[in-house]
């Protein structure tokens, strides 16, 4: 359980640029490096974590449960969120005095292009799991819906699941 805790704590510490950066980070560590779960299971996990109101980071709970059962999920969840919760408690205490905020904000803006590149790399390697024409059509359709409408991802995922059950 210790390597598990350490892994998620590490991710929690370098988790900037919003929730989506977690997809490349977790995929890289858990699928490519440690081989704790397969790419398919990982993708299923992303879909499942989108079915809750919590942040996309609930993906940590799913992967934790996959690796170490309920306790694994609990440890993964605590460790991934611990750094940002502690940081926010410190910020809450000193927030009126954090004069360096402009510097932090600018640094953050400067790092975001790299985050975009990393999230794109996740789409790239996850796309390698798709084989059939039907899957590529589904991807294109989903992309178009997300791009041009404001449909909730949860609805889309539930809808896709229902369609998948009906199709031969």
């Amino acid at each position: 359980m210790l390597p598990l805790a350490w892994t998620y704590l590490k991710i929690g510490l370098i988790f900037f640029g919003g929730g989506y950066v977690l997809i490349p980070l977790l995929q890289h560590l858990l699928v490519d490096q440690y081989r704790w779960l397969t790419l398919r299971e990982f993708l299923d996990g992303v879909a499942i974590s989108q079915l809750t109101p919590g942040p996309l980071a609930m993906l940590a709970t799913f992967t934790g449960v996959r690796v170490g059962g309920f306790v694994g999920g609990l440890i993964a969840t605590i460790c991934i969120f611990l750094p940002c919760i502690v940081l926010m408690l410190v910020v809450g205490r000193y927030y009126a005095r954090l004069k360096e905020i402009d510097l932090i904000r600018n640094a953050l803006d400067n790092v975001l292009p790299a985050v975009v590149g990393l999230v794109a790399s996740a789409a790239w390697s996850l796309g390698a799991t798709l084989g059939t024409l039907r899957e590529w059509l589904l991807l294109t359709a989903a992309f178009a819906v997300f791009r041009w409408t404001k449909v909730n991802p949860m609805i889309m995922i539930l809808g896709a699941g229902a369609v998948g059950m009906l199709l031969p």
Partner: protein
């Protein structure tokens, strides 16, 4: 540094926990939808924090981790200090944690069922489509000028084509970003 204005103490810890549980249970839509819901509840309805304070919390919330969770932690802290912040965070995450744990357990138990396999197989391309849409959306906002494009493409190439350790890529990008921010401040 010394702490500024002491956190208010009229709101009970239980109230904080219960409110953020409600946010964590009903805030479907994630991210900004959660923030909007939280704002309506703690700023407009309960008037626990001022709109300015809430916006500051949101701004700081972008530094590390998910900003929806961070905004909740911040509001909880402003109300009742560390216990308030912790209870707000736990309350917000608890419903999702329980739902995901249950779904993950069901998934691992019934993974082999043909019907579930078919349903999940159809969700995989949708998830990738969602990630592509996010890339385009973030890219439009964040990839400004040659420098931004260069950094984005370098990060992509390092991660996707050369399989460089992602933590390393992020750390390098962060160091570069901080140096650039320092330089910008000097220049202005």
């Amino acid at each position: 540094m010394t702490p500024d204005t002491a956190p208010r103490s009229q709101v009970s810890l239980w109230e904080i926990f219960a409110l953020f549980c409600k946010v964590g249970l009903t805030g479907f839509g994630g991210g900004m939808a959660i923030v909007a819901l939280t704002e309506r509840m703690v700023v407009k309805e309960k008037q626990w924090v001022t709109p300015e304070e809430f916006l500051h919390g949101l701004a700081f919330g972008q530094i590390l981790g998910p900003f929806s969770l961070n905004t909740c932690t911040f509001v909880g802290y402003r109300l009742r200090g560390v216990p308030g912040g912790l209870l707000a965070a736990v309350g917000f995450l608890l419903p999702s944690f329980l739902i995901v744990s249950l779904l993950a357990w069901l998934y691992l138990r019934f993974q082999h069922l043909q019907l579930l396999k078919k349903a999940l197989a159809a969700t995989n391309p949708v998830v990738i489509g969602l990630i592509c849409a996010v890339v385009l959306d973030m890219g439009k906002k964040q990839l400004n000028g040659t420098g931004g494009w260069l950094l984005g493409i370098t990060a992509f190439a390092a991660a996707a084509l050369f399989k460089v350790n992602l933590a390393l890529v992020l750390a390098a990008a962060a160091a570069w970003a901080f140096a650039a921010a320092l330089y910008q401040r000097r220049a202005s």
